[in-house]
């Protein structure tokens, strides 16, 4: 391969290329702006924690309200809170049955659930678990927290609910 000839500037033989250089400087300024915007988006929560990243379904008064991270990250610890308001019957029976739909539940690694469920059951389209209640829990919001880690990136649409009760649906996006 023949070597490229290199121009002279005055007495200096140099591969100067001001047309390219000016374009590169301009693009560099654009790049700085993009970096700033990305950082601002990250602070706002577009890539995980932050005001944009925290979301919940339904109103405070609803019988089931799920708090979740709208933007998750692969294999990062994350919380999913099911706020359930037990009916008087459920409080009297001392337990409530919650469920999370598949395949979402299979794509998560569930580290722990607090309070620890007494029993969990696998069904074809959901995973159910029974949580014991104190007698005074009727009509009050009881938080059941799932500490989870996403194992698959991408968009996940899912549902959760209370057996014989309300169902909620939401989406999460998991960054790789």
């Amino acid at each position: 391969m023949a070597l490229r000839p290199i121009q002279l500037v005055g007495s200096l033989q140099i591969d100067e290329h001001m047309g390219y250089q000016r374009l590169a400087w301009r693009l560099q300024r654009v790049g700085w702006a993009v970096m700033g915007l990305l950082l601002a988006a990250a602070i706002a929560g577009a890539f995980g924690s932050g005001p944009l990243g925290h979301a919940s379904t339904g109103a405070e008064t609803s019988a089931l309200r799920v708090e979740y991270a709208r933007f998750g990250r692969l294999q990062a610890p994350q919380e999913l809170v099911l706020n359930v308001k037990p009916t008087p019957e459920q409080a009297k029976a001392g337990k409530v049955t919650l469920w999370v739909s598949r395949p979402y539940a299979d794509q998560l690694q569930i580290e722990t659930i607090v309070p620890t469920p007494d029993v969990s059951r696998g069904g074809p389209d959901r995973i159910e678990f029974d949580v014991s209640l104190t007698p005074d829990s009727a009509g009050r919001s009881i938080a059941v927290t799932l500490y989870v880690q996403h194992q698959y990136p991408g968009m996940h649409t899912t549902r959760a609910g209370v057996a014989d009760g309300p169902t909620v649906e939401w989406w999460e996006f998991v960054y790789p």
Binding site: G10, L12, I14, M18, A24, W32, M35, Q75
Partner: protein, 150 residues
């Protein structure tokens, strides 16, 4: 596959980021710049190998990096255009003892940097003793003294 993708993505993103911040930013290595570079490499390492600490995974990651380097150097030799975009070009910033202010401003080089390079490389005392100062592709400044100063 997983390791290859991780390493390739990180390689590409780092290449773009370091081109965007400019060659002057981390070129004059002060102690603090060095610390920042170390922190960046530490942060990157996690993303490249994940939770897999096996020797095989490390070898795949290293192999990927080296092959990408090889590929890039081959592309650069083939195409002057790619060469320019990857490594930029040298820019003359002082000519016959006069600073080219527009270029210096855009490249974020000030007179102090030029004079420091002149002192360190040739023991020059003043700007008017410099024939050419060039901001090289590496981000360093090279100085050519005027003929009567040699």
């Amino acid at each position: 596959m997983n390791t290859f993708l991780r390493v390739a993505v990180i390689y590409l993103v780092l290449m773009i980021l370091f081109r965007v911040i400019g060659k002057r930013s981390l070129a004059s290595i002060t102690t603090f710049d060095f610390v920042v570079l170390l922190i960046i490499s530490e942060t990157t390492q996690q993303a490249m190998i994940g939770n897999d600490f096996s020797v095989t995974n490390a070898l795949i990651a290293i192999l990927t990096l080296l092959v990408l380097e090889l590929l890039l150097s081959w592309l650069k030799a083939k195409s002057p255009l790619i060469d320019r975009w990857m490594d930029s070009v040298p820019v003359i910033i002082v000519q016959d003892g006069k600073t080219l202010d527009d270029r210096m401003g855009r490249a974020r080089v000030d007179l102090d940097d030029v004079l420091m390079a002149a002192r360190m490389s040739h023991g020059l005392e003043r700007l008017d003793q410099i024939k050419f100062a060039v901001l090289e592709r590496s981000g360093e400044i090279s100085i050519i003294p005027k003929d009567d100063q040699k």
